[in-house]
Symmetry: C2
Subunit: 152 residues, 2 copies
């Protein structure tokens, strides 16, 4: 599991394993100390990873009254985050392709119709089409799931 998270979320091995243990631990969470000894890593490493994971909204913590310890848990809306990430990426990609299309159109204009230097834009159009449709689907799914979630 650690490895999977590591590649998919592009995290350092240990950061991924923190996530993995939090997934397994569930809503009870895990303390700083336990993470250190369970993953037998150094306090400093765990600390820096915990802070970056918090910064990227992947985890949070809660505290118990009369207890200085922080109990770290996964951010509750993992799938929303995951979808938002995906949509953001698709949009970035779309923007890049749009830029390229414009750039190539410009060049094509300055060439004779039959020149074999003329760019074929079809590739980009197909890709843009895919991105567009995927984004719409994902946004709808997002809305729908959020609705469902509220009504529980």
């Amino acid at each position: 599991m650690g490895v999977h998270i590591e590649t998919r979320e592009q995290l350092a091995p240990l950061a991924a394993r923190i996530i993995a243990t939090l997934v397994l631990k569930g809503r009870k969470g895990e303390t700083f100390e336990n993470l250190v000894c369970e993953l037998n890593a150094s306090k400093s490493t765990i600390f820096t990873h915990l802070t970056t994971l918090q910064a990227s909204n992947r985890i949070t913590y809660y505290t118990k009254p009369g207890d200085r310890k922080k109990y770290f848990i996964l951010s509750p809306n993992a799938w929303v985050q995951s979808m938002d990430e995906m949509i953001k990426n698709w949009n970035e990609e779309r923007d890049i392709h749009l830029e390229i299309v414009n750039y190539k159109k410009d060049i094509n204009k300055s060439l004779p119709e039959d020149s074999d230097e003329v760019f074929d834009l079809n590739f980009h159009y197909e890709y843009l089409n895919y991105l567009e449709q995927a984004t719409v689907l994902m946004q709808n799914l997002r809305k729908k799931l959020i609705e469902n979630h509220k009504n529980e």
Copy 2:
């Protein structure tokens, strides 16, 4: 663009820039030599990246009769590849969550109903639901786009 590809496709900087230049070059493709001097990198580096990119089906090449050079181009079905990757990832993720659910169910069985050690499985169910729906949507879109593509 290089940077975007680098992070999104998890490639080495130079591999990403190869992709980027191929995207810009389009159908005509780019030769080994040109890549070397355009990206001012060493032959060996370009070579190894070209081979791994071919191995991962991201690029191919064609040859001209009476010309020893290889003209490298992007694999024509980039969006299909991209979707397949995504679906594969979602399936892996689903399998992991299913395993965890089983594991947690097992533990829950051996605990009294009201124990606060009991795992809350809702998180996993929601996530599985998301994965399931996303996968179905993406598979449908895949089918649809492939149909469209054939009829051109």
